[in-house]
Symmetry: C2
Subunit: 149 residues, 2 copies
């Protein structure tokens, strides 16, 4: 189990890869982001993107999936108040293979609640060409390691 | 069609409602956020939330759905470079009815590209009790209104 103390500032972890399919790009966008360049092959081909691209919110959700499956599932997370920043930098296309990099920017023990601390994490989503397609600065609360008995 | 000029600073629009079902909360979380308090009724009941709550990324995706269906579908949008901030303030639970409020914070014509302008929008997601459950500050590019012929 990974506690607040197990995220030293400057440490960088990597998780993934996750390959994004055309079917899931279209399915996500039909539900949450039904713009032509996400759901319609013909319209997307004529757009500035030259083909279907994933909704930015789909990319963000995949980033979170990799965080949960590769890190939060084995960590003493206590939720997130939110993000300080999110940037969509490059399109994500069918067949792209995405990895995430997680860097601890800040680690601040809570002044009022000694059982927890706040982390500021920088997340980067990187494709198979090494291009950064999305970045986030996220805040998260983690439990502190219980004292040895 | 709504252009850059049609988002005066200070204007507030509302869209929705959208009712969130238990089934979709669990389906979204199984795919992107498989933490016990999002997917497992028993575990969620014993958690600090007292029952299943939606993934924050699901709430963000629903907010975007309401934006696209109620605004971007009839506007000259040219994409978004990202968010300056996102905050998850209250849990979203099965049966909640969500509306969004969209306020234009800033409108800046592009200095280098006279056909477009940048908007800064504040989005609030509000539940049926009037509680703000999520906020965002989003950046978006819109085409300027073409000159009359």
């Amino acid at each position: 189990m990974r506690y607040f103390e197990d995220f030293p500032v400057g440490e960088i972890m990597e998780r993934g890869p996750y390959v994004v399919t055309r079917e899931e790009i279209i399915a996500f966008a039909r539900q949450f982001d039904p713009q032509p360049f996400h759901i319609d092959e013909d319209a997307a081909g004529k757009s500035i993107y030259g083909g279907i691209i994933a909704s930015g919110w789909h990319t963000a959700a995949i980033c979170h999936k990799l965080m949960v499956e590769g890190l939060l599932g084995q960590a003493a997370g206590m939720g997130s108040p939110g993000l300080d920043e999110l940037r969509w930098k490059k399109p994500v296309r069918p067949g792209d293979s995405l990895r995430i990099r997680i860097e601890t920017l800040e680690a601040r023990p809570s002044a009022s609640k000694p059982d927890r601390g706040a982390l500021k994490l920088r997340l980067e989503v990187v494709n198979q060409h090494g291009e950064v397609v999305m970045t986030e600065v996220a805040n998260a609360l983690f439990a502190r390691r219980p004292p040895a008995p």
